[in-house]
Subunit: 214 residues, 2 copies
């Protein structure tokens, strides 16, 4: 019985490359590809796969949000997160969202098929780099017991996205039809929540989150 897999990434070429890598495995069948979160939701509902390999950094709906929504409708689906970064926040958020596996793109190529098989059997698979961050986080149990603390509000995400575009507070205020002072409060709350202290760090976080493109 083949393991039915769908792939989600915003780069078509990466999708095609991952597909041909997985097609070499006789026990794995790639039954669909999606370029963004919305397409992934539709694809999963239609094809009912066993495993979804989801890139975190996708435009529009990012991988974390897509995973949350996905598992509401398809609780039996197994999700493997695929990301360029092993950032602690992403790992925890993605696992909290319900992902059963986490790989970084710097992992060896054959780790993906091994992860798929492990996850399909109900196991959890983390690549070594990520496993390290998990045990670190387990030390200060606050970050595992509660949520990660990084739950930005809808408006805060909007502000963050515009900040990362290079917009000034007043420009953002005009765009969002609120006072500049409010924009500043949002920014400061974002910085406090994420423990970041400069526009550069905010920008990089927004890029990792998929809120804007580099």
């Amino acid at each position: 019985m083949n393991i039915r897999v769908v792939l989600a990434d915003d780069h078509k070429m990466i999708l095609a490359a991952l597909r041909s890598m997985l097609e070499k495995e006789t026990d794995i069948a790639v039954v669909g590809e999606a370029g963004d979160g919305a397409a992934l939701l539709e694809l999963v509902a239609r094809t009912m796969p066993d495993v979804a390999v989801v890139d975190i950094g996708m435009p529009g709906m990012n991988g974390i949000e897509a995973t949350q929504r996905l598992l509401v409708g398809q609780p039996r689906l197994k999700v493997i997160a695929l990301s360029a970064y092993s950032d602690k926040r992403f790992v925890l958020e993605m696992l909290n969202a319900g992902a059963k596996g986490y790989l970084i793109k710097a992992s060896a190529g054959d780790e993906l098929s091994r992860a798929i098989r492990a996850i399909a059997q109900g196991q959890t698979y983390l690549c070594p780099e990520v496993a390290g961050t998990i045990v670190d986080a387990a030390r200060d149990k606050t970050s595992l017991t509660g949520h990660t603390g990084v739950n930005l509000g809808r408006r805060e995400r909007e502000v963050l996205a515009l900040l990362a575009e290079g917009k000034s507070s007043s420009e953002i205020a005009a765009r969002m039809h609120i006072a500049a002072s409010t924009v500043e409060v949002h920014r400061r709350n974002i910085m406090r929540k994420l423990d970041l202290h400069s526009v550069a760090e905010l920008t990089k976080y927004a890029i990792r989150q998929g809120l804007t493109s580099p």
Copy 2:
């Protein structure tokens, strides 16, 4: 006669995936993989391939610098740039560096093999998105005739990298053992040269250049 190809990308999994995609083509042989610019130089000198597929965003030596150095030693080598972005500056810099092809990762998967065949026959291959930016640039011929205007000095690149890390001017000054005022001059010169006007834009540019990781 097979086309001998080497691949360079900082993500091992992407390398493996691209390799298995290309191995389906009977007339293309992948003879090596490199994870950064230095490894690519060594690999090319050792294997003497026909074509090098180079990701622009690599840590350490980025794809543009690697391409320049590569073509000094191996003028007959054909380089295909592979990037997540179709930014005008990168396209022009990469082509000026000597690349014969430019693909974005959002291109269709089979474009890579088509591009490799075209380049191996001495042609030039640009994906549609990039071709558009080229003709746009051709309109104001200044950007094609002369250099792209983006020739940052060594110190300017150092400042830019630290700025994109979230460091303040005084922190950068301490790190580089120069006065804070000098750091500010560098920053302003960078902004003027690149026509960017905020730390967020500088950060994104630095990321695209591979000067820092998101």
